[in-house]
């Protein structure tokens, strides 16, 4: 059943795909972190006429499947290359989750911190930048880490818009060499090898913050 020769042959393609997966996940997560923060800030500190529609739009994006969003964006925005589009859609999709995470973190900053800022006459902008956000982000580092891991595991969806990430490469190799078992096993193994240490890291971080 298991063809060692085929597995060895599949390895380069799978690893190359893995590189693409990482290359997609890192900027996509950066987009998610920054955009998520903007979404959270607009909802917590922005004017109501902006906060309400933004909340609605974020909820809409959050509750529709990523796969559908990828297809829709691919069809509707042909001007962008598939990898760029994939990173943006993935990042935006996760931004709507991260904005909820940030909001939880913001709400967990004690009322006394805000009151101390008022008593010191700190300007609003400074209150957010120097007092609230640093504490809010610290509050939510573990869930942020978990979302990074789950985004990494969802990146293979980009293959539907022809981004040649790892699962796509494994699939291609499997179909051309009739070696699905080998190529997908390798892909799964690489995923495991990559996400396991990451989740351990996240766990550690969690434990350290709890202490």
């Amino acid at each position: 059943m298991w063809d060692g020769e085929a597995a060895r042959a599949a390895l380069p393609a799978v690893l190359e795909g893995f590189g693409v997966t990482v290359l997609a996940t890192v900027p996509a997560f950066a987009v998610a972190m920054v955009l998520g923060l903007v979404l959270a800030l607009v909802q917590r500190a922005g004017p109501a006429w902006l906060a309400l529609p933004v909340r609605g739009a974020a909820a809409f994006v959050r509750t529709t499947p990523l796969l559908v969003q990828l297809f829709a964006a691919w069809v509707l925005v042909p001007a962008l290359d598939a990898p760029v589009l994939g990173v943006l859609v993935l990042g935006t999709h996760y931004a709507t989750y991260l904005s909820e995470v940030y909001r939880t973190g913001i709400d967990a900053v004690p009322k006394g911190q805000w009151e101390a800022c008022t008593a010191l006459s700190l300007p609003r902008r400074r209150v957010w930048r120097a007092v609230v956000l640093p504490q809010a982000v610290r509050n939510v580092l573990p869930p942020l880490g978990n979302y990074a891991v789950s985004m990494f595991k969802e990146t293979p969806l980009l293959s539907v818009i022809t981004v040649h990430e790892m699962v796509h490469e494994a699939n291609t190799f499997g179909s051309t060499h009739f070696a699905y078992l080998e190529s997908f096993t390798l892909a799964a193994g690489v995923f495991l090898l990559a996400s396991w240490p990451t989740s351990v890291l996240v766990r550690r971080l969690e434990a350290r913050l709890a202490a």
């Binding site: 009151e115 008593a119 006459s121």
Partner: protein, 269 residues
């Protein structure tokens, strides 16, 4: 309540009413605190003492009436037709609340900043002092509160008494004309109370700051106050020089209150 009339008191409440829903906490309160005067508010729990300080710090808004600071409307500003007073905008409040500082029962230090960063934050970002000047002054203030050697520590590494002394230094760094102290020793273990009160006695003696305190520490109230106001249900029951009011209260309510809180020399809850 009659007060000696001075020109431009530091604080003047003019028929101030504060309601939460249909609960009236302050009902047309008149109150004056002279410049440089040290006034202590005493009274049973729920009588509205904290509310007065929070209104002054703009942590709450008045329902009715006007608060004046240094002779100028503070809770309100001239506006509308013929200069009628309207509730102050956030901008008006921001421009005027710098005169006022507050120390909280729960310290409310910024836990992610060092002690020194806590103290320099406002001077640098509100008063526009240079980092060097602010640093130097912050270290002087930390010396004043006896924590010169803990400048680089995180607040969470300090005892409650030390944290509260940092909070005092942080408030003073803004050079407030008026300092509000709301039961600043109530959250402390008994053995840490004295170090904080000593620092405050020092501040009261060595500066011309206007002090408005809420405390259950009658000894401290006697030491630092020019005047004590006895409160009950949002009204001033009695007002007088510290010694006089504590030694021979005129009002039965005051006698009852002092009798009870004297038992342990500690707050009753």
């Amino acid at each position: 309540m009659p007060h000696e009339n001075r020109d431009d008191p530091a604080v003047r409440f003019e028929r101030v009413t504060k309601r939460y829903g249909d609960r009236t906490v302050l009902d047309g309160l008149d109150l004056e605190v002279g410049r440089g005067e040290h006034v202590t508010l005493i009274g049973p729990s729920g009588s509205g003492k904290t509310t007065i300080l929070r209104l002054l710090m703009t942590l709450e808004r008045v329902t009715d009436g006007v608060i004046h600071v240094d002779g100028r409307p503070f809770s309100h500003m001239p506006g509308g037709t013929n200069g009628k007073l309207v509730p102050a905008s956030e901008r008006h409040l921001a421009a005027h609340r710098r005169r006022i500082g507050m120390v909280f029962q729960q310290f409310n230090l910024f836990p992610h900043m060092s002690v020194l960063e806590n103290v320099v934050e406002a001077p640098v970002h509100v008063l526009g002092e240079s980092r060097e000047d602010a640093d130097r002054r912050a270290r002087d203030l930390l010396d004043l509160v006896g924590l010169g050697d803990r400048a680089d520590a995180r607040p969470t590494r300090l005892s409650g008494g030390q944290q509260q002394r940092v909070a005092i230094a942080r408030a003073l760094a803004m050079r407030p004309g008026i300092l509000l102290l709301d039961e600043v020793t109530s959250a402390l273990d008994p053995e840490l109370v004295a170090e904080v009160l000593d620092v405050l006695r020092d501040v009261a003696r060595s500066t011309d700051i206007t002090l408005l305190c809420v405390t259950h520490e009658m000894g401290f109230a006697r030491d630092v106050s020019d005047r004590i106001l006895m409160f009950d249900r949002g009204r001033i029951v009695e007002s007088g020089p510290a010694d006089e009011l504590l030694e021979s209260p005129a009002h039965a309510r005051t006698r009852a209150f002092l009798g009870r809180s004297g038992e342990r020399g500690r707050p009753l809850r």
